[in-house]
C-alpha cells in the first residue's frame, strides 16, 4: 500500500495549529505507518524550493493553517494549491481570518506606525518603515509585501475542506486525519472536526430564561461555575458558534470566544451573536438599553474575534 503524502503549512498564525497536530502525541507515530509527511516547515527542514521542485498534484492532502496577510502567504497558498490534490483550511485563521484578521480594523499605515514608531520601546528617529524592496550595494533585497487587508485561505485559492478551531482540539484533529487516511471523504466544502449544532448544545452549564440588566467582564465578577455565563452577564459567543470542541473553555470558566466559526447556513457570525446577545437584555427603555450596550466595549473584537475576514463587512472603512 502506498502511503498518503501529507503536507502541513504555516502562514499568518501563531503556530498553535502546529501544536494541535503534536497534541496527537504517540498517535502521530502510528500515523507515520499510513502517511508520509512530504512538507512541514515548522517541524522538519523543508525549503520552498523543495515544494517548487515537486510535480503538480503530488501531495495528497495539505493542511494549511494561518491567514493570508502578506505576499509570501499568498505565494505559498497558490503553490500548495497547485501541488496538492486536496487543500484543507486548518484552524480559525485559515477558515475565517482568525486573530490576525483583527488587523482589518486598522490600515497598514496605522499598523506600521504603531509597531515601528509609537510603541514605547521603539526608537525610530529616521522614520524607517519596512519596504518590500531595498537597493543594497550587493543587489536588490526583498521582503514580502504586507497587505492592508487580511484574507482567508478561501478568498485566495480554492479550498476543499475546512477544519475550524483556535486551535482545532486534539481529539477532533485525530478524527480529521483518520477521515483522510480512510479515504471516505465528505462532499467538497464540508466542515470537518466540528458539529453542526451550536456550542450551547455541548455546554454543561445550566440554562434558564434569565435576562441580564448589566454586562460584566470576566475579571469584574465571581461567576457561578454551574450556570450559563450569558445569564450572568458575561458575553459568551456560544449561541452563535459551531460546537465540536466539547466546550473546553467553558469548563475552564472562560466564555466562548467563537473560534469554531459560524453555524451552518449563517452568513455572518457577528450579526448572529449581536442578535443573540441583545435578546438577553433586560431593558425596555432607550436609556436602559444604552447602558447595556455601553457594556459591550469592543463590538467588532467581541463578535468577530476569529472571523472578521470572512464576515460580510470584512474590514472597517479606513
Amino acid at each position: 500500500m502506498t502511503k498518503a503524502k501529507v503536507a502541513f503549512n504555516w502562514a499568518s498564525s501563531c503556530g498553535g495549529c502546529e501544536i494541535a497536530i503534536l497534541e496527537l502525541g504517540t498517535k502521530l507515530l502510528d500515523l507515520k505507518e499510513k502517511i508520509d509527511i512530504v512538507y512541514w516547515p515548522a517541524a522538519l527542514d523543508y525549503k520552498y524550493s523543495d515544494l517548487e521542485a515537486m510535480p503538480d498534484k503530488n501531495i495528497d492532502v495539505t493542511f494549511f493553517n494561518g491567514a493570508i496577510q502578506n505576499s509570501e502567504n499568498e505565494h505559498v497558498a497558490k503553490l500548495l494549491r497547485a501541488k496538492s490534490k486536496l487543500l484543507v483550511a486548518f484552524g480559525s485563521c485559515a477558515c475565517g481570518g482568525g486573530i490576525p484578521a483583527l488587523a482589518n480594523t486598522k490600515s497598514r499605515e496605522l499598523i506600521f506606525k504603531s509597531s515601528y514608531k509609537e510603541t514605547p520601546t521603539t526608537e525610530n528617529p529616521e522614520n524607517t518603515y519596512p519596504q518590500s524592496k531595498f537597493e543594497a550595494p550587493e543587489g536588490t533585497l526583498t521582503i514580502p509585501e504586507f497587505y492592508n487587508t487580511v484574507k482567508t485561505l478561501e478568498q485566495t485559492v480554492d479550498v476543499d475542506y475546512f477544519v475550524p478551531g483556535c486551535p482545532p482540539v486534539g481529539p477532533q484533529v485525530g478524527k480529521v486525519i483518520e477521515t483522510f487516511v480512510s479515504g471516505k471523504l465528505p462532499p467538497k466544502g464540508a466542515i470537518l472536526g466540528a458539529s453542526d449544532k451550536s456550542l450551547c448544545h455541548e455546554c454543561k452549564r445550566e440554562k434558564t430564561d434569565r435576562k441580564v440588566a448589566k454586562l460584566v467582564r470576566t475579571y469584574e465578577t465571581i461567576q457561578d461555575p454551574k450556570k450559563c455565563l450569558l445569564e450572568q452577564g458575561i458575553i459568551c459567543m456560544g449561541p452563535a458558534t459551531r460546537g465540536g470542541c466539547e466546550a473546553v473553555c467553558l469548563d475552564a470558566n472562560m466564555p466562548c470566544r467563537g473560534c469554531y466559526g459560524p453555524l451552518p447556513n449563517v452568513l455572518d457570525q457577528g450579526a448572529k451573536m449581536l442578535s443573540a446577545l441583545s435578546s438577553v437584555f433586560d431593558a425596555e427603555t432607550e436609556e436602559d438599553i444604552q447602558k447595556l450596550v455601553d457594556g459591550v466595549v469592543d463590538p467588532i473584537g467581541t463578535f468577530y474575534r476569529f472571523g472578521l475576514a470572512q464576515s460580510l463587512m470584512r474590514r472597517t472603512k479606513q
Binding site: D268, L277, E284, L312, R315
Partner: protein, 146 residues
C-alpha cells in the same frame, strides 16, 4: 434637457407590514411626494430584521438602510419592536466601529396612519445620505485590500 449627475442614494427599507408598510401605502394613496430612492421590503415585524440583512444590504451596494416598525406599545406581536430597539442600539455601536456613518442606518417608528411622516423620513434620509456620498462598500474594500 440636461441629465442630472447628482448622486442618487440607494436605500433599502425594511418595513413592518402592520404599521410602517401600511403607512408607506398611505403615503402612496394620498399622493404624497417623496424620493424614489427607497426600495421597500415588507417584513412581518421589525423584530424579524436580522442584523445580517442590514449588513448584507450595506455590503452589497446599499448606501443606507431604513428599518421602520410600529411605535413602542403598538406592536402587533406585543414587543417585537422593543427587541428591534435593543438589537439596533448595539448594531449602531458596531457600525460606528466599522466606519459607517450614523445617518446611513436608521430605525424609525411609523404608524399605519402616518403616511406623511414616512415620506418626510425618506426625504431626510435621502438628503442626508446624498450629502455623505456613496458608500460603495465592496469597491472600497477591494481598493484597500492589497
Amino acid at each position: 434637457m440636461e441629465l442630472s449627475t447628482r448622486f442618487e442614494p440607494k436605500i433599502v427599507g425594511f418595513l413592518c407590514k402592520w404599521c410602517a408598510y401600511t403607512g408607506a401605502d398611505l403615503a402612496g394613496t394620498s399622493r404624497i411626494k417623496y424620493p424614489p430612492n427607497i426600495n421597500p421590503i415588507r417584513v412581518n415585524c421589525s423584530g424579524r430584521v436580522d442584523p445580517t440583512l442590514i449588513l448584507k444590504a450595506l455590503a452589497s451596494g446599499a448606501d443606507g438602510v431604513l428599518i421602520a416598525g410600529c411605535h413602542p406599545g403598538d406592536c402587533h406581536y406585543t414587543n417585537g419592536n422593543v427587541k428591534t430597539m435593543r438589537r439596533f442600539k448595539l448594531l449602531q455601536k458596531m457600525l460606528d466601529q466599522f466606519g459607517i456613518e450614523k445617518d446611513r442606518v436608521r430605525l424609525e417608528w411609523v404608524s399605519a396612519s402616518e403616511g406623511e411622516r414616512y415620506a418626510r423620513i425618506v426625504d431626510s434620509m435621502t438628503e442626508n445620505i446624498r450629502t455623505l456620498g456613496p458608500l460603495n462598500w465592496k469597491s472600497k474594500i477591494e481598493v484597500v485590500a492589497q
